[in-house]
């Protein structure tokens, strides 16, 4: 018997975006307030897990055609190249640089290479969590 879970699916459609936005917020806020790449990544992944619970694996894969293993690899590469980029400026491995800029719309903001590293962490965490859940879920 196929159950009709229209309430779950409808609320999921709304809540997913709230979770996703919150995770992005947590991720960007990490440098000044609690949060960061790790928690942000986990929250994003849990949003996708919610999608998986409400819909089935096939639907979610069609909607979000992401290869999470590749995502993990990109994340690792980003983190490593951020750390290694310092070598080209004749400073030790893993030296970060930051400065303050006036950006249109956002005003005075600091831009920090640590953010790029954190993006790597974020991508790896999302990739890893989804890889684990997907491969266990797809197993029969």
């Amino acid at each position: 018997m196929k159950t009709n879970d229209v309430i779950l699916q409808t609320t999921t459609k709304i809540i997913f975006f709230i979770i996703f936005l919150f995770s992005i917020h947590i991720f960007f806020a990490g440098h000044y307030t609690p949060g960061g790449g790790f928690v942000g990544g986990l929250l994003t992944a849990s949003g996708i897990v919610l999608l998986l619970l409400a819909f089935d694996l096939k639907t979610v894969t069609t909607a979000l055609p992401i290869n999470y293993t590749v995502m993990t690899a990109i994340g690792l590469l980003l983190a490593l190249s951020t750390a290694a980029g310092a070598i080209f400026f004749n400073v030790p491995f893993f030296t970060h640089a930051f400065d303050y800029f006036h950006l249109p719309l956002l005003g005075k903001q600091s831009l920090h290479t640590a953010m790029l590293f954190d993006t790597g962490v974020y991508l790896v965490v999302v990739g890893v969590t989804m890889t684990i859940i997907q491969s266990i879920g797809a197993d029969d």
Partner: protein, 806 residues
């Protein structure tokens, strides 16, 4: 002339031999090999004239210069004597083996490669001045001897004998290495000559006796002394040329060489004198007594070799006494070393020839069993003559060289009771008595060997082959040795001056400076003294006992088999294999829970004992913060959750309780001001509880027992122990903070230097970003591992086969 490279000539020749064997099939490979020892022998004879005048030569090359290890060849009287023995007997043995080993049926390339390797090793042992290179060559003799004994590797007995000799000699070799290392630490040098020069200071060192005993263990195992002689009779499974070469003339004398070489260092110790003389004499008696029990020709010769080696060993021990008596006193001890070396030469000649005769008898009749042999005298007259010469020399009868050395031996043993040091004047009376009894037995087995084989009734129906005289080529080598036996009796002083005296100078440098100082003249007739009467007694009693041999020889079989040394060795080997197997099976249970118990118990014992030995336990409440009410509540929840996990009947309850514990830890993070940790802990706990539930859901239906965990006292004790240990360590560590925390640095610089506000995150990505980089790598590896586990399962046989087909 760098004669150190002479040592390696046989080894280099061994490289070429297999090619010659494969390419030149028409000619027996032995003919090519024969050139090597002959050339070396003639090279070494060129040293004779100079060494005779007391000169010595050194030649060396650096091996490992940074560790001060070199290969040094030192030629003095002693090493030249041995080098001549090795190459001389080596030539004769190779010549003999050409006729003994069939070129179509035997794997000659193996044989000669091993033999040449052995020759290099043996030359290295006797010429090395550096102890490490001496040890290197020493083990090379063990290995090549192992290969030679196991030459007919398809026979069980060969493999057993090879393994046995390997185990015993390598044991001794390792002990000897230990002695060398101790000696080199004491003397601060590896050179034997330098050690001899500084010998007086070494005697007071606390390790002196230890190094003495260890080095003697090496010498005793190699020279088949009591109780290590048991490998030698089993080594008789080797081809007879090998037995003649290794196990009578050369390798078993390596131990004698070692004792002779180290005598100047250790002679001052009473341990040395007692051990070398006592063990030598015991071996002499034991070997001669049990030689009569043997029925195999080579078995008799093996025991006789053991006994003769004991004789030489005891003489070397008596020679060391001269260190205490000095040269002024006209004591006999200074002749003992001379007698030892003289008998060593004599033994090499007659025992080599006897082994070759035993090989001939085996080769021409098909058996070595003395009960089947008899009456071969008319069929093999030449062999009989040589055997007779060898046996009479071994028995100590004139006019053969054994007579001379036997007389000197008796003289040495008689005078030992005159020595009034180290309690020799009381116990010393036993020495000549044992020596005399052993000589009687030597006389009997010599007669037993030769007359049971060649006289009596011929039993052709018992023999596998029709007996006939050996080919002339096979008889050349024993004939040469046999004629030497007679020649030495008539011209003993030529051998004495040229070979023996320079060697004695090397053994007793504290007595003589040059060989001319030794005023010893060997006389075949030395008047009607007590030794002569002893010899007459030996001959009379020996002949009487030999005549009645068939009456009392069966008594040997009454000797209980359970108490033999071979049985002891077998039991030891059995126990070491089965015992260690059982021991390993006892603790390697294959259950992870056992190993966890070992590990945790180890941790508890090590930590607790360290804490109490170092008196590190300390509790101080001074720096503690006050406990707040809600901390207490969460702690109670935590404890309740933990107890639920332990006592729950269902696994589902345990999983839920584990989740509760995780969330209360998150709450702790909240109230201890760690928001990042709290966030991560919450999400991670949720994910892991979900994964636990997944695992629970997939438990197999068959064994899903919803039972409470069984109580085991041992486990409970270990768990309590671990808990107590960790608590003690935590309390002690918290109570003694020795250095201030570095966190204030982060507080100060987090905005200025790193441009951030969240210290935790900035530490993670900036200060300590390196750790984070590898933690995400760990996560990536874990996910790939899960993919590999789930998706790459090769459960079906078909798929496996498909992959293998590719």
């Amino acid at each position: 002339m760098s004669f150190v490279y002479f040592i390696f000539i046989p080894m280099l020749a061994a490289l070429v031999i297999p090619f010659l064997y494969k390419k030149v099939r028409g000619i027996h490979t032995g003919w090519f090999v024969l050139a090597v020892p002959v050339i070396l022998f003639s090279l070494y004879t060129t040293f004779l004239s100079k060494v005779k005048n007391g000169e010595s030569f050194t030649s060396s090359f650096e091996w490992i210069p940074s560790l001060n290890i070199s290969v040094t060849s030192y030629i003095d009287g002693l090493s030249l004597l041995f080098s001549l023995l090795i190459t001389g007997i080596g030539s004769l043995v190779v010549l003999y083996s050409i006729f003994y080993l069939d070129k179509t049926r035997e794997q000659l390339h193996n044989f000669y490669v091993y033999l040449l390797l052995f020759m290099t090793a043996m030359l290295g042992v006797v010429q090395s001045d550096h102890m490490i290179s001496l040890y290197f060559f020493w083990e090379l003799t063990s290995i090549s001897s192992f290969l030679l004994i196991g030459y007919w590797y398809k026979r069980d007995r060969s493999r057993f004998g090879a393994l046995k000799s390997m185990m015993i000699t390598v044991f001794g070799g390792l002990m000897m290495l230990g002695g060398f290392v101790l000696l080199s630490i004491m003397g601060d040098t590896y050179s034997i000559r330098e050690l001899i020069a500084s010998a007086p200071e070494l005697g007071n060192h606390e390790w002196f006796v230890w190094s003495l005993i260890l080095i003697l263990l090496g010498a005793f195992t190699k020279s088949a002394q009591f109780p290590f002689y048991i490998w030698l009779p089993d080594a008789m499974e080797a081809p007879t040329p090998v037995s003649a070469y290794l196990h009578s003339a050369t390798m078993v004398k390596a131990g004698l060489y070692l004792v002779a070489r180290f005598t100047p260092i250790f002679a001052s110790s009473e341990w040395w004198i007692w051990l070398v003389t006592g063990i030598g004499l015991l071996t002499l008696f034991w070997g001669s007594f049990f030689a009569l029990k043997q029925t195999d020709l080579k078995g008799i010769l093996a025991f006789s070799t053991v006994s003769q080696l004991g004789l030489i060993m005891s003489l070397l021990g008596a020679g060391a006494i001269s260190f205490h008596t000095g040269i002024e006193e006209d004591s006999i001890f200074k002749y003992a070393a001379f007698a030892a070396i003289f008998h060593l030469v004599n033994h090499a000649t007659f025992k080599g020839s006897l082994f070759m005769i035993a090989g001939i008898v085996d080769h021409e009749t098909g058996t070595r069993d003395i009960r089947k042999l008899g009456g071969l005298m008319s069929m093999m007259p030449i062999s009989f003559t040589i055997a007779l010469i060898g046996s009479f020399s071994m028995a100590g009868l004139p006019p053969f060289n054994g007579f001379l050395s036997k007389e000197m031996f008796l003289t040495g043993m008689l005078s030992i009771q005159d020595f009034n040091l180290f309690a020799f004047d009381t116990w010393g009376i036993l020495f000549p008595i044992i020596a005399w009894i052993a000589s009687v037995f030597t006389f009997i087995y010599s007669f037993y060997f030769v007359f049971r084989t060649f006289t009596g009734k011929h039993k052709p129906d018992l023999l596998p082959k029709q007996a006939h005289e050996a080919p002339i080529g096979m008889l050349i080598s024993p004939a040469i040795l046999g004629s030497l036996v007679v020649a030495i009796f008539f011209i003993p002083n030529v051998i004495g001056d040229v070979l023996v005296k320079p060697a004695v100078v090397a053994i007793q440098p504290y007595l003589y400076d040059v060989p001319e100082d030794i005023h010893i003249h060997i006389k075949a007739w030395h008047g009607p003294n007590i030794e002569l009467w002893m010899t007459i007694g030996i001959v009379l009693l020996g002949y009487l006992l030999y005549a009645t041999l068939s009456k009392w020889q069966p008594l040997y079989n009454k000797f209980p088999q359970g108490f033999t040394l071979n049985r002891l060795y077998d039991t030891m080997m059995f126990l070491s294999e089965v015992g260690t197997n059982r021991l390993t099976r006892f603790y390697m249970t294959g259950f992870i829970r056992s190993y966890l118990v070992y590990m945790f118990t180890g941790i508890v014992l090590l930590t607790i004992s360290t804490v109490f030995i170092k008196e590190a336990f300390d509790i101080s409440f001074a720096t503690l913060a006050p406990i707040r009410f809600y901390e207490l509540i969460i702690a109670l929840v935590l404890i309740a959750g933990t107890l639920t996990i332990l006592l729950a009947k269902s696994r589902l309850t345990s999983i839920i309780a584990l989740g509760a514990v995780g969330y209360s830890v998150a709450l702790f993070f909240v109230i201890f001001n760690a928001p990042d940790l709290a966030l991560t802990q919450l999400v991670i706990e949720t994910v892991s509880v979900a994964l636990f539930l997944l695992a629970f859901y997939h438990l197999p239906k068959l064994n899903r027992h919803e039972n409470r965990m069984k109580f085991r006292l041992g486990n409970a004790l270990v768990a309590i122990g671990v808990g107590v240990t960790v608590t003690i360590v935590a309390l002690s560590a918290h109570s003694q903070k020795l250095v201030p925390s570095i966190s204030s640095y982060y507080e100060k610089t987090v905005y200025k230097e790193a441009g951030g506000g969240n210290i935790v995150n900035v530490i993670l990505v900036d200060y300590r970003g390196f750790d984070t980089l590898f933690e995400i790598a760990v996560l990536a590896i874990a996910s790939l591992g899960i993919i590999a586990l789930i998706q790459l399962r090769l459960t079906k046989k078909k798929e496996v086969n498909r992959i293998e087909d590719k």
